[in-house]
Amino acid sequence: MQQSVKMVVTGPFNSGKTNFIRSVSEIDVVSTERKITSAAERVKDQTTVAMDFGRITVDDELVLYLFGTPGQKRFDFMWEILSEGMLGFVVMVDSTRPETFREAKSILETFRAYAPTPYVVAANKQDLPDAWDLDDLRIALRLDPTIKLLPCVATDKEKVKTVLLELLYAILAEMEAAT
């Protein structure tokens, strides 16, 4: 019996969620947009939103799914659905755009309220010259010192791996603390 577990990648629009998932997912990039649209057409008039979805197969018995949340604020009702049963979540922040920090923080708090699972914050776009330093970001986002804030470049697989691993370590630590 195959078991699947889920982690959620969230953050403001344009923070790098799609690229983050793309960097590690094993699913090829071939669009089924047209197909699924026609399948969903029967659900006429219903709001539809784009979905980021990645997969990492561990073995025959275990698969990890990465779900990216819809970027637009008006679809935030999707978040509660996505947060159901997740192992943990990553909050992506565009380190070059301080005008989005407040929204990132508010998304973080919303998810935290939906599911009190471990999470990490990824300071994305650290390759750009305008990127804020981690120390400054931590202050701007008012992050508790116990929360992991990690440098990230969503297009760089190694950086993405590190973020996911840090999240998994946090999950493991919490499990061990609970026993």
Binding site: M51, F53, L82
Partner: protein, 282 residues
């Protein structure tokens, strides 16, 4: 003569036809296997509809229609916790958040979605109460039944086709091994499709998912069929066809909901350890 019976014998189409022709006023209460619903009519026009446990407050309807954000809804709940739909509507219009036609269109859409779902109910006890009407605090929107009946019938034909395609509700799905040229990214899913997606597993039969999600047989069929057609999922027959009931989905609306119960700490640690090893090796 009291208008009551079972949808098995007298369908939603039949009922709406009758209400339309007899220009009836009152409320139709329906008790289905997984959900209950009510529709109110004045002089043969639909004016109000609500689905059992679903939150039909104006703020929620406007949020789902994309007219208000979650944040705005939270602020409204905090500032005017006891406002009726009518009071809230006025407040929103005066504050310039939405227009009157935004409100009426969103409510109309919300009502029609409920009514079309009722067409999919193959069974359910119904009863017509001529004296029962929605409270004064509710906003009613009159809708002619003719078009509703035509659209409902069209959908029913589609559903007959779906039953042929997916006759057995004990079937379950798994994610396609190799999504045939499929990319699950950037696809567009409705809210209900998202809900189903998060339950896709060989352990969850369509029947179990429908129960957990408060969907009718037809609703779950329609969504699963869409995912199947898109090549995202494959049919599986669960071993022995026995299905474990799913936990009822918890609504986080009122408070932070607890995380799903960890099945077994040791098993969970082993899963996370495996994930760590796998990601390191990527």
């Amino acid at each position: 003569m009291p208008l009551k019976g079972n949808l098995r014998d007298f369908s939603t189409t039949n009922l709406l036809n009758l209400i339309n022709l007899a220009k009836k006023t009152g409320t139709l209460l329906i008790e289905g296997p997984n959900q209950s619903a009510q529709m109110s009519f004045r002089n043969g026009k639909l004016i109000y509809a609500a689905m059992g446990h679903e939150d039909g407050h104006l703020a929620t309807v406007l949020r789902k229609a994309g007219r208000l954000t979650e944040e705005q809804v939270r602020v409204l709940r905090a500032r005017a916790p006891n406002a009726t739909d009518k009071e809230l509507g006025l407040l929103l219009i005066n504050a310039g958040y939405v227009s009157q036609s935004d409100i009426l269109n969103s409510l109309r859409h919300h009502m029609l979605e409920i009514v079309y779902r009722l067409f999919t109910w193959a069974e359910g006890m119904f009863r017509f109460e001529p004296t029962l009407m929605p409270g004064d605090d509710k906003i009613t929107v009159p809708i002619e039944l003719e078009n509703v009946i035509i659209e409902g019938s069209r959908r029913m034909q589609e559903w007959a086709h779906l039953v042929e395609e997916l006759p057995n509700l004990d079937m379950a799905f798994k994610w396609a091994e190799r999504p045939n040229a499929a990319n699950i990214r950037n696809m567009n899913l409705s809210a209900d499709e998202w809900r189903v997606v998060s339950y896709i597993s060989p352990k969850n039969s369509m029947r179990a998912m429908a129960k957990a999600l408060g969907m009718s047989d037809m609703e779950i069929r329609k969504i699963c069929y869409g995912l199947l057609q898109a090549g995202l999922v494959e049919l599986v027959r669960p071993p022995g066809m026995v299905t474990r009931p799913l936990p009822q989905p918890q609504r986080p609306a009122d408070s932070a909901r607890p995380a799903p119960p960890p099945p077994d700490r040791k098993q969970q640690v082993s899963i996370v350890t495996k994930l760590i090893a796998r990601i390191r090796s990527l």
